[in-house]
Symmetry: C2
Subunit: 229 residues, 2 copies
Amino acid sequence: MINNYSAEDKVLLAVDCIIFGFDKEDLKILLIKRDFEPEKGKWSLMGGFLQQQENLDEAASRILRTLTGINNVYMEQLHSYSKVDRDPAERTISVAYYALINIQDHNEELIEKYSAKWFSVAKAPDLIFDHNIMVRHAISRLRYKTSKEPIGFELLPPKFTMRQLQKLYEAILDEKLDKRNFINKINGMDILVKLKEKDMNSSRKGSFLHMFDEQKYNRKKADGFSFKL
Amino acid sequence: MINNYSAEDKVLLAVDCIIFGFDKEDLKILLIKRDFEPEKGKWSLMGGFLQQQENLDEAASRILRTLTGINNVYMEQLHSYSKVDRDPAERTISVAYYALINIQDHNEELIEKYSAKWFSVAKAPDLIFDHNIMVRHAISRLRYKTSKEPIGFELLPPKFTMRQLQKLYEAILDEKLDKRNFINKINGMDILVKLKEKDMNSSRKGSFLHMFDEQKYNRKKADGFSFKL
DNA sequence: ACAAAAGTGTTCCCGATACACCCATGT
DNA sequence: ACATGGGTGTATCGGGAACACTTTTGT
């Protein structure tokens, strides 16, 4: 016989997404106000259930797309949460994912449809179930990961200034960084291209825009280089 | 209504355990020879299904206990694997855990009952499903984690020599370490107690036994100290 | 006497950090 | 002219890596 597994122990498997964005100074997360039970009216992460024909990564992408309209987003599986009574309605295991998006890319209509809102991580409201814990874990993972892989760029527009990049890392790490040391480190890795173009919004002098050169990074990585911040 | 979740999307949730041990020179994993379908006769990780009244950590502990007879083992959740056809018999999502045990503690009868066997990680056979990938991930996580937290001791007997500890880290990292630098680093952290007792098995001269001082470590940690190797 | 593992400090180097002034521009 | 943020280089410090000889004891 092929199928000797018992059917009695099946469970509902949810996927919840911690969606990170970065806005000028603050690291933010996108939360929804639940218009359904349980916990209707409270803030929570965007989530959904795993479907039969998809894997977890696909479910996470689908859920993210539902709320933001964006495809091809950097996402990573975080952890699975399984406390027996974590969801009062029914036994549910949740696999948390975090996503990094360029905050300008979100879709206004969808945000409205789901009563979603961006919150600075420092000022986010209490969330339902164990979602607060998930967010804490996600921030901790984000700190680790952004210091070891060049994924911070996912949170910025394609063209960004050094200052924006520094502000981003300051927001993620929640500490001030030295301007010269930061730029020296970044330039030392030689994975950005400096454009002729300047961003004139932030100062009178203007500041040069840069782009992450993914090809160059991949070549260097294949050669033994590793990103380190 | 309380329950507005659909029942159609429930899935089987498995827990698979990568059980690490250390034996003189080698990092090992405990594998079982499946005496049930699918893939009967092939090697695999020890696993089981999540039950309704337990969370994932508890399921992992239960599964480990079933095979080894040991309780209170260091375990950590690794990752969830969800490829749609990963298990040919039925859609199953698996949450992998890794465990660190003192290899001397295992129970011979249980090992025999499950046709289990210890393999050096370097010489382990091919495993069913995606278990090879799980093992690779587990080793990678183990490397990271043992360099940041004093969990390597879980793989040793309570009393161990500096040389054993070094061999352990060499096996985990798969690289030779310098004897003096290693001992200097360990002693610099001041989290071991050196016993008067010597282990006379490894050499004519004998070498002093040490123990991990968990209280001391916890006090230092609360004071801002962090383990680093 | 010799073989086999244990034990023990110092030097050197590189990467991380600290730090201050001039520039360009809009008002 | 001045206010605002942009851009740049060097000196110091500390942790990590390299490195070799003596000790003990069973044979």
